[in-house]
Amino acid sequence: MAGTPPLIDIRKLCVGFRGRAGAILPVLHEVDLTVCRGESIGIVGESGSGKSTLALAAMGYLKHGLQKISGDVIYDGAEMFGRSPADLARIRGGQLGLIPQNSGQALTPTMRIGTQIREALHLHCAMSEGEHATRARDLLAQVRLPDPEAILRRYPHELSGGQQQRVAIAMALAGEPDALLLDEPTTGLDVTTQAHILELLRELARVRNMAMVYVSHDLGVIARVCDRVQVLYAGETVLEGPTRAVLREPAHPYARGLLASIPRLGEQTLPRALDGRPPGPNGPREGCAFAPRCALATQDCRAATPPMIEGGADQMTRCLYPDRVDEITGDQAGNAPHGCAEGSPCALDLAEVSIRYDRPGLFDRLRGAPRPPATVDGIDLHLRQGETIGLVGESGSGKSTILKAIAGLLPPASGQITLGDGTALPAAVETRRPDQLRRIQMIFQNPDDSLNPRQSVGEILAQPLRLYFGLRDKALRDRAVALLDTVRLGAPYLERRPGQLSGGEKQRVAVARAFAAGPEIVLCDEITSALDVSVQAAVLDLLNDLKAAHKTAFVFVSHDLTVVRALSDRVAVLYQGRICEFGPAAAVYGAPSHPYTAVLLNAVLTPDPDHAPRLMAEDVLELSPPARGCPFQRRCPVKCGTICDTDAPPARETGDGHVIRCHIPLDELCAKQTGEPPKS
């Protein structure tokens, strides 16, 4: 790529905003970014590191309140911030495409896909109205959407998340762009969908020789699609280099820590958390920004900001001791997950639980219309004390629905939930007794939503303490402080409001609130998916410690297979509200697997440049489970015939309580999975 001038060239860019005190606080500090045609660059960092700001600045756009302080943003030879609005409008969306995070929300809900694509074509393509329809079909075919004609007539809500993302990509391609900016392009998508989208993007970049800028917190994504990586920390580039080198032998302690905090499928230990949190934009800018969290930090690090130096293997690092980065990994093996003893007494038992969202209307009942199959059906789970059961599956697999049923928020249509002492649990939360309620606590996905923004942390923790234990005044405060200590926060946090806490701190408060009740069972609903990887590792570590200390049983729901693997004793794989496979984590994640589990496992991305996901089933939108037969019949890559459509699959046991529900015999399943060569 030498020789050709870079397409995007950002030099010493400083961006900041005016704080409440009037001083300008930097968000980006002297950041460089160079991308050539046909090159893929990944920008990695924790939330707040300025990575999205950098990507948007490449378009000559800054979010409201931000201002460029100094530096140049050059696109195709000319400064972006100096261009006229008309010029910018032509470039943005035309030569320079943006694919935002969560494109389902970026599509207009009241317009058909066809209309929206035609609008993009109208703006950026000089062609007649008549050609637009053909071109729109071409674009949808390019992003490998099946039956483009039908998709054009649909509304965004009629598409799956993956399909929406493909439409967003198609729209970005409408102006024949030379470069694409992708802001967390696959965050929030299922593993299988994510893998497919990334393959598509790789292919498009190669065929069209586009420059790609990926912004992501997920190093697995970066590993799959990027040539080079730039790691941002507190608004500064701390490491820049080829993907392989950065992932294999990073020359900066922060990148090393980030890599260690990612849970991996093959590992038996919990990921290692990075201590501390990144400095805010109002912190003093003296010395290395990472020094307070760095094991290598010396007096020199704190004295002055280190310059970018050669870090070996073609990397540029902002670290004084790139050769010593290797040292900090030796004694840093993660903690082992605490298992539960065999034969522990039962904590919770679910028997034949089925849950429905639909309510047949009067007319349907009189007509005797057949009811659609239950959303969640035939769930049998036996949770032992101190045990963690993981529930995995794609979105819509009914994982969270099961948690709501256990919590009593969504009474099951049939089936029985029994507590460890044999008392049957009333279905609805209103009918449960306080002592029953106390024993089951729930932690929600997004702490922004699960903590009342009007309450201080002290008040939040006081809710369960007052309700279950009737604590008041001094006793209440002492208990709240003790709880904050157990989640590694402290008394100073009592007076703060959720808005003043970071994402990880908020989730810790939510954990503390759940444990305030002294529960026997804690239900965790995707509790780490809204957090950065380093913070996620810390929260997982915390749960592991609490589990050991309190003998609490967890039901842990996540779409992330690696996270579930890291913490769970046993795992249930759900598809369309039915359990496909259940057993000890090691058995479920090993061979043989249910075909669905195999699809999921093969699609998992790891931060390893040599790992390629093996894709099997294309993502399709399945809104309801099939009425008969195997729930996975429509997507199964190894479907054995009509028997899958008609008969419910038998439960096949491999021993050790490992059950696979599939028509294919176990040894055949085993042969299919180990014998098949990787597709890519």
């Binding site: 501390g276 805010g280 939503d449 809710q463 402290g490 946090y493």
Partner: protein, 292 residues
Amino acid sequence: MSTAPPAPRGPRSVEVLRAMIARPSGAIGLTLVGLHLLMAVLSPWIVPYDYKAMDATITLAGPSPAHWLGTDHLGRDVLTRMMLGGREALLVTGTATPVALIWGGLLGVYLGLKGGWRDEVAMRLVDAFLALPGILPLLVLITVFGSGGEVLMPTLAFFFGIPVIRVARAAAHEVVARDFVSAARARGHHPLDIVRRELLPNVTDTLLVEGAMRWSWMLLGFSALSFLGFGVSPPKPDWGLMISDARVYMSLAPLGVIAPVIALSTLIIGINLSADALAKTLGLDRSRKAVI
């Protein structure tokens, strides 16, 4: 781990007030409302004449050094009556607005949390009330129970509370969908506990703005009743009543109409501007943002 204490800040109400004054609409609105309140409180001591004092020799006079705004058809000083004319209106509506806000707000939030058939029935009743022209049911009640502050206050509080139900319910609905309410429900708190601790603090902003708007509507309604002869009884000075009395002689002594109209409209504009500033200020709620 950084454990810097949060930035020092005063009570939230002071902070909001300061932010309101920083906006032009808030500054003007609050000044107008403040002046009116001041006038209402101080007027009995500073008015130049007795509001009942008639002088048959100078009926419908124009402005003069003795009577700056002239006199009405009974020879009473218009300035005096204008200054005193807001007292009854402010007293009645100032009491009735909070009452309307509290009962309508509480009921609305409770319905928003509970949902189900209660909600359905209550909302259809609200719809039915809102379908009637506002002043009609007021007139019926007043004809039955008679006019005067002690009747007007509860009547206004009742009728102006009904639209508040709808607003509070909508605001509560938004909050009920959030996980912290689910968390409270899963813990098994009493519904009233959830209303008090989880919902009310999050709908207060909406209710405050709604209250300011209701207040201006109520003032207008009160003046309309007085104008129609159902509100304040003569000879008590009241803007609505003054407009009603003076409109017959509008061509002879226009100030008799203009003065109370200006007084009433500045108050209502002031309230509306303040409500607007309040809404905008609360929209930029600090509690939802990180403190930097």
